[in-house]
Each structure stands twice: as C-alpha cells, then as structure tokens.
Subunit: 209 residues, 2 copies
DNA sequence: TGCTTTATGTATCTTTTGATACCGTTTTTT
DNA sequence: AAAAAACGGTATCAAAAGATACATAAAGCA
C-alpha cells in the first residue's frame, strides 16, 4: 500500500503531521481473516493495533463462559492492549476479528514516547479509556436495572442505528450470548415482540418495524 | 500546612521531583466535611482533586435512583473529573465526601501540560483509568452472573479485607443500595447466612465468622 | 437424496427475586 | 419524656427468568 493511502486511512484525530509521519515510519499495515486471533490471554504485547477497516471482538474467557468487553471498530484502538502494553503486563483478554480486517500496528514503546510529544495522541488515549468506561457503565446499568425484554429491544435498536438498517443479522442463540441469558428466553421475548407488531422474525435475522 | 508536610503526603508514584515541586507551587490543600459536595452534575471543573486523607463517593443520579461508580480513596484521583476536565466538559457525576477529608487540588490545565512533561504522571492517569475499568467490569460480571446471596457475601468479605476487620458497619438498607436491590431481600439473605453460621448480625453492622 | 447441523417454537416446572405489609425494637430529635 | 426516624424480622403474593424437554423447519453437505 502507498504511504499516501495509509496516511489517508489513519484516524483524523491525529492532528500533528509529525505524529502521522512517525506512524508511517514505525508502523505497518496488516490484514487478518475472519476469526483470526490477534491477541490471546497471557500474551505480552509488542504492538498496539489501530483498526482501519473491519472489527475486532474483545472478550475475556472465564471457566465456562465468555465476557464480551467491546468491539474495536474503525479508527479505534484496543484499550485493554493499550494498558497491558503500557505496564508491560500480559493481556487479560482475547481479540478476534469478526470479519476480514485491516489493522495498523506499531511498537508499544511508542505509546509512551508519543505521550510526551503529541497532545492529540494523549487526547486519543483518554478518549479511548473514557468512552469504553461509559460504554461499560451503560451495560452495567442495563443489566442491573432493566428487564430483559427492554435490553433485547435496546440491543436491536442500537445495532439498527449503528448499521443503518432495520434488519439485524443475528441468531437467537448469539443474541442470548451477547446479553448473557439463554436462547429460550430470547425466543420467548422475540415472539412476544412479533405478536405486538414490533419486529418481524426470520431465520438468522430480525427486522425492526 | 508546611510544604514539606504536603510533599510527604503526595502519592509516592510521582517520581519526578520537578513534578512534585510543580504540584506544590500550583496546588492547594483543602479540607471538607462529611457529606460536603465537591462536584455536582453539570458543573465545569477548574480543579482536579487528589485525595490525601478520607474518601469521596462518586455517583450518578438517574430519575429515581443513584448509581454508585466508585470511591476515591487516599492517593487516588477522580477519573470522571479528570476526563471531564480534559475535554472541557461538564461533570456527569457527583462527588460527595463520606467522611471528613483532606484534598489536594490544582488547576485542570496542568493535566495536559504534565502529560507532555512527566511520564510518572502519564502512568498515574492510565493506571487510574484502567483500574476503574477493571473495578466496573468486576461489578458488571457480578451483577450479570452471580446470584444475590453470593454478591452479598463477596461484598462483605471484600470490605472485611480492605478494612482489615471482620466487623462491617453497614445497615441492611445501605447494603441494599450498594448492591442495587431492596432491604427485604438483604435481610432475608443475611438471616440465612446467620442460620448457616456464616455471620453474626448486629444493629448497624455484620460480623463475618 | 438422505443425513446432520443449525435455527426456532413452545409447554411445563422451579427458582429467584421483588413488592407489599405489618410488626417490634432501638436510636435520635424535639 | 414524647415523637419521629431508623433498623431489622418475617409472612404472603406475584413476576421474572432459568432449566428441561420435545418438536418442526431450514440449510448445509456427503
């Protein structure tokens, strides 16, 4: 890929041209397939990723179940990788591509260096932490205070908005995973929604009405 | 208070002596009473606090209920204040002292300046964000997957450990607030624990056995 | 085509949690 | 001291959610 092309793909928030230039110099561009694992638990991180295209699912694995932390989307970096790298700890989570993705990676030592040189880099880091915190706080409140039917509806409308379509491609089982409940509960609730005319159900997808 | 006294009370993680000196120069020491409000929702922050002694309860207020985010304890700063100040946003939460406290405060503009000068300051910020995130993640998992009786027991043993005593001073009502449930549920569960010989109940406190 | 896997619908039963109400006791306030 | 507020125990009822089991349909594949 041409340097100018990469430059054009870097998030616009990096305002200092010297920073953008350093990214080009030290970073490199990689592509991964769907279901490729970028990071696994216990691994030391010698690179920090910024997702250019695609999506990475970040989660933790406990005994039997999986805890979804967040998705890293275009222009974003992985908060968990970032802080693990910063303190030279191993990763406590997994990162797996949900689709074919393009990732820009560069050595983790630069995280520290750039903090002392570029304020747009600092702003990016703090923004990353704060928005992940707010996101998790939203999930927490939802789990703590909202009944499941409301959470299902929120999930669907959020995704519809984000993906700009009324048709959400997800199975009942996977929706149950996302919300930390069981398939039967989801099927029951969705059927109720359909009877109320709120959605139309298809095999493998749900359309909001 | 003498400068040397204040210096001694600043968290040890600030390793650069120039940073410690700047803190002295630009910051000041304030004391607050129990139940004093330091920060309220909608307020712009012109200062960032570091708690030297005491404890600040940080929470959000929604319609009817209150969401406890975290406690800021000795040596810690408030993540919510920090990021609000950083982006010149108003605060989305409240900060209220739970006991008489001593707070070191300094102008928020220094947060940015120090990032570009002192790496121990950067490490402190990132540590602050990451540990709050992990803390919230723990609460999330607990709410999502643990039955209430287990959460009650975890709460008690955590506090016992943190305060280094088996006697936890809290009413059933306040314990219910902390865990987002109701008084009756807590009383029921605690009585069960007492019958199983796990705790002994007193008015206003619970002793672990 | 026939077999297997995945997706979904639904009934039944149990458990967990919450809501409400009423009680007596202790502590604090007036 | 009297009144009010806070604290805790407990019974009853209802609702929410999970567990289990079984059934049908669609999709993928050998």
């Amino acid at each position: 890929m041409e340097e100018s092309e990469i430059l054009a793909k870097l998030p616009l928030v990096f305002t200092e041209s010297a920073l953008r230039q350093e990214m080009l110099t030290h970073g490199k561009f990689i592509t991964v397939n769907k279901d490729d694992t970028l990071v696994r638990e216990g691994q030391y991180l010698d690179f920090l990723p910024i997702v250019i295209k695609g999506e990475i699912r970040v989660f933790q694995q406990k005994e039997d179940r999986e805890i979804l932390l967040y998705y890293v989307r275009e222009g974003q970096t992985c908060m968990m990788s970032l802080s693990a790298a910063y303190f030279n700890h191993t990763s406590t989570s997994y990162g797996v591509a949900t689709k074919p993705s393009e990732i820009f990676v560069f050595p983790t030592r630069l995280v520290n260096e750039w903090q002392l040189k570029y304020s747009s880099w600092n702003a990016y880091l703090i923004q990353t932490f704060r928005s992940r915190y707010d996101e998790l706080l939203g999930s927490f409140e939802s789990v703590a205070f909202d009944p499941i039917d409301k959470r299902v509806l929120s999930y669907l409308t959020d995704r519809a908005k984000k993906e700009n379509t009324a048709q959400i491609a997800i199975s009942h089982q996977n929706l149950a995973y996302e919300l930390g409940t069981t398939r039967v509960v989801i099927s029951r609730i969705l059927k109720g929604f359909e009877q109320q005319g709120k959605v139309k159900l298809f095999r493998g997808s749900i359309r909001l009405k």
